[in-house]
Symmetry: C2
């Protein structure tokens, strides 16, 4: 048996940040493009773009900065505000997974034969 | 902003226990019937019955004992094994919600104006 958990942040009853969305934003930064990030996350460009738009609208801040064309060929990067949110979220969830696993082992695996 | 979380247990990649399923089982015990429990959980009898069956099959143990007819009019009750699982699950998740909320406040609400 394995324990699974999910954690996310809502504003007015709507998701504004989740581990998945944070990973998507990190992929945008790493690849420099929303379409490459979408492909890395196994979703369509449209879905990735919509999720980013959703977060931006709900948080009320710009998360991804996209330049089109130019000598560098354009590309997408995270805004400083996005960095700040990602860092907060990562700190927030750090250690929680381990704690959940530890408790799970204590209550479910110690006396269990699976 | 509010933090939300979900936690569940899988076996061979399939859910065997979750807070929702534990609540359903507790409702069966409280009401003495699967249909009353289903109604309390806002799902159809069929869905409640299926979820219980799923848990029983996946865990490999009987969770709900149903008597039909008889002088008491029948009814459903939890087996001792179901009680044991519920107790473990409740102990396992006890305190986790509070911890998540505390961490959330620390990382998101302290510096935030929402």
């Amino acid at each position: 048996m394995k324990v699974k958990s999910n954690i996310w942040i809502e504003k007015d009853g709507k998701v504004v940040l989740s581990l998945w969305r944070v990973r998507l934003l990190e992929a945008v930064e790493k690849t420099g493009s929303i379409s490459a990030a979408a492909s890395q996350m196994n979703v369509s460009y449209r879905r990735a773009w919509e999720k980013i738009q959703e977060c931006e609208t709900r948080l009320g801040i710009k998360l991804v900065d996209t330049q089109t064309g130019g000598s560098g060929g354009g590309g997408s990067h995270l805004t400083p505000e996005a960095y700040a949110y990602i860092e907060r979220f990562r700190k927030f969830i750090a250690g929680l997974d381990e704690l959940v696993s530890e408790r799970f082992e204590k209550y479910f695996l110690d006396e269990d034969d699976t």
